[in-house]
């Protein structure tokens, strides 16, 4: 036995002293920084199997939509088609990677449009890693031709997801307040559009003033504030049916509504006798719960994605700051202590950040901060910038920016990557404010 133990001891000693040294023999290099630049990607027109001119046009349009989506994200740099060497991009043949590598394409999207036997349109695509010479994604969709734009958004989302690890956000919509007319008689209507500005339509007629629309996670409903008989009330709007409904009959003003992550509750502010507190209403039984009870103004509540916490703004500390509390209203703690005033907090769907509006020394900022109050960053500023809303992947923010002009102020919706780069204006037919991003279409 003792000899066995001795053998074990020496084996152990050998392992301790020699194996690490053998392992150490392999060279190791640490790369602790790199470039930050858009990924060069090639999106040639989708090929057509049978030479059908309509399908060829469709393939070209789809490639265009995908290209625009990827470019607008700021994370990709679509290469100019004039630089493409390879013209035959059939998805059933492996690309000649050398020809794509020469033009520095790191990724390649090859697609094909064809007509199925039942008359529907079949769209297939493959995403290739040019350097690693392997396919990353391959998908096929059957649809009616009218849905081509949505298919292009879905393909864009697949590409985005595979190359960034994040969910995409291209197959989404934005609801916002469309504004027109002079400043003292401004007409404000609810409007909805795809995230790239297409498929725009108005939801309300402009007879009542509408503010702060917010999407429901179920996609079918929007909650917003409207003035009815000069009294602000929170409403629900069904996108499919156009039906509107007042949410609760409270004695005071209700405003700043927002859905809970499961879509079952609406959280909002109720103002009575000059004091506003935060309430929730359960949409299933219309039961109301009061979450804050403070002499200060508590407003703009927003749920964390798991529904366990709520961030809101309050002046209970003497200045307008952000606070986080538990979902039942307990455990209130202040998270901002900087100069200036903080407002409109919105919890990221990713859960890691809270976006807010900040007013400091006559300037407006959009910023982000971690829920524990650390890591505050101001990512854009303007004469008046407000109302941040997150894309469903928590990577991109939309907000509106007002700029003074000769004929009055003009307002437009912008998007920006949470890194603070790639601010892009979303084109709308009229002035636009108060954007709210939808969840991914389903």
């Amino acid at each position: 036995m003792t000899k066995q133990y001795q053998k074990l001891f020496w084996a152990f000693a050998f392992a301790i002293f020699f194996i690490p040294s053998l392992a150490h023999a392999q060279l190791k290099v640490t790369v602790d920084r790199g470039g930050v630049k858009a990924i060069p990607i090639a999106v040639p027109n989708f090929s057509v199997a049978d030479g059908n001119a309509d399908l060829a046009k469709l393939g070209q349009d789809m490639a265009g939509v995908i290209t625009n989506n990827l470019r607008s994200s700021g994370l990709f740099k679509p290469l100019a088609p004039s630089t493409f060497i390879q013209s035959d991009n059939s998805i059933y043949q492996s690309p000649n990677f050398n020809e794509w590598r020469v033009i520095n394409a790191q990724a390649l999207v090859a697609g094909q449009v064809s007509k199925a036997n039942d008359g529907r349109t079949k769209v297939e695509f493959r995403l290739w890693d040019v350097f690693a010479e392997q396919q990353m994604v391959g998908m096929a969709y059957m649809t009616t031709p009218q849905n081509w734009r949505r298919i292009a958004h879905i393909i864009s989302d697949e590409i985005y997801k595979r190359l960034t690890g994040e969910e995409g956000y291209f197959d989404t919509r934005i609801v916002y307040v469309s504004e027109t007319g002079p400043g003292d008689a401004r007409i404000k209507r609810l409007a909805i559009m795809d995230q790239d500005g297409y498929n725009h339509r108005f939801l309300t007629d402009g007879k009542t003033l509408v503010l702060t629309p917010r999407f429901s996670p179920t996609l079918q409903q929007i909650t917003y504030m409207a003035y009815y008989n000069n009294k602000p009330r929170v409403y629900l709007y069904d996108i499919d049916t156009g039906r509107q409904e007042v949410l609760g009959d409270f004695p005071g003003m209700t405003f700043a509504p927002r859905f809970s992550p499961d879509g079952n509750k609406v959280i909002m502010s109720l103002s009575q006798n000059g004091n506003s507190d935060i309430y929730t209403m359960d949409l299933r039984n219309r039961g109301v719960s009061r979450l804050t009870s403070n002499a200060a103004i508590d407003t703009s509540p927003s749920y964390s994605p798991d529904g366990n916490y709520i961030v809101f703004e309050s002046d209970r500390g003497g200045t307008q700051q952000l606070y986080v509390m538990n979902g039942d209203g307990s455990g209130v703690r202040r998270i901002t202590f900087g100069d200036g005033r903080y407002a409109n907090p919105v919890w990221s769907p990713r859960g890691d950040l809270i976006a807010f509006t900040k007013m400091l020394k006559g300037q407006f900022y959009i910023g982000v901060i971690k829920p524990d109050g650390s890591g505050e960053r101001l990512i854009t500023k303007a004469y008046h910038v407000e109302g941040p809303t997150w894309a469903p992947n928590g990577r991109v923010l939309a907000y509106f920016k007002e700029t003074p002009g000769r004929t009055g102020r003009s307002a437009h919706v912008y998007t920006i990557d949470l890194t603070g780069f790639n601010e892009t204006r979303v084109e709308t037919p009229l002035d636009a404010s108060d954007p709210a991003w939808s969840p991914l279409n389903q």
Binding site: G34, G35, R126, Q135, Y141, I154, R377
Partner: protein, 296 residues
């Protein structure tokens, strides 16, 4: 008495004047030992230990000389290129996408991507031999750029502030970032059992220029990607694989960042790698750790 005190006063005054004019020369001198200054010269390690000849031409010629005796390789490539257009290439013959088609219902419901296809199966690494030839072909294509990796892939921003914060100083524009010279390690690198600091530095900085970091990705600052690369004697990466395969297959965020690391080692700008040719045994198999924490 008066005269006596006057006399005493005069004597004392004279003594004071004499003392002041003559000085305290007779007082003992204190020796001051000033330690000699230690000269610290700041210099780049790479400047000291790098290939002695700063004229880059000789190493450039060599690869060209190597190319000339390689026409047979070209001959090999062409059939391979042709093979890529046929189903011989391992990656290409992807599965029939019919399997990926959704059910044949109607309109929007149809639009929803059906159960995810099985591209993962197709992502399996191709057999090493064709990969090798492809890589050689890849090397061929950018060959005229062999001297250019320094210029083609510089880091684009100051990474002290990759995330924008208007409260601090404005970040540099991409164009404003000066192209840092990437030290190269030529064939005259000193031989030894270990790679020198400058040789490692050259490799590290070359890879930095090829790595496009997906900043803004969730938890990116805590991701460490180890890539195991096998390098040919031509200093071109023959094979690269993620060490933590389990996480690669289960964590989409990790996979996306890991893919950027793979793209970095395969990048034409990093082919061939800046490695000393005399130490092949040392670098034929390298673990490259991509760790972006310092950037945040």
């Amino acid at each position: 008495m008066r005269f006596g005190s006057l006399f005493t006063s005069v004597i004392f005054h004279i003594a004071i004047v004499v003392f002041m004019t003559v000085g305290i020369a007779f007082t003992p001198e204190r020796e001051i030992n000033i330690p000699p200054p230690i000269t610290v010269e700041f210099a780049k390690v790479s400047d000291l230990t790098q290939t002695p000849d700063p004229t880059p031409k000789p190493p450039v010629k060599k690869p060209e000389e190597e190319k000339k005796p390689e026409p047979p390789k070209k001959k090999e490539e062409k059939p391979k290129a042709a093979a890529t257009n046929t189903s011989d290439v391992p990656v290409a013959p992807v599965k029939e996408p019919k399997k990926e088609e959704p059910k044949p219902p109607e309109q929007e419901a149809e639009v929803k991507p059906a159960p995810k296809p099985e591209p993962k199966k197709e992502e399996k690494k191709p057999d090493p031999p064709p990969k090798e030839t492809n890589k050689k072909a890849a090397e061929k294509a950018p060959e005229p750029k062999k001297e250019e990796p320094k210029e083609t892939a510089p880091p684009q921003r100051d990474f002290g502030s990759v995330l924008r914060n208007l409260a601090e100083s404005e970040p540099q524009d991409e164009a404003e970032v000066a192209d840092e010279e990437v030290p190269t390690v030529g064939q005259q690198a000193p031989l030894g059992e270990q790679l020198t600091i400058s040789e490692l530095d050259a490799l590290r900085r070359q890879l930095e220029g090829c790595w496009n970091v997906p900043i803004g990705a969730r938890d990116i600052e805590n991701m460490i990607i180890d890539v195991n690369i096998i390098v040919g004697q031509d200093r071109v990466v023959q094979q690269a694989g993620i060490v933590d395969k389990a996480r690669y297959n289960s964590d989409s965020f990790y996979r996306a960042v890991a893919d950027t690391a793979i793209r970095a080692v395969y990048s034409p700008s990093c082919s061939p790698l800046n490695l000393p040719e005399g130490k092949y045994e040392m670098w034929k198999n390298i673990i490259v750790e991509f760790n972006p924490r310092e950037m945040f």
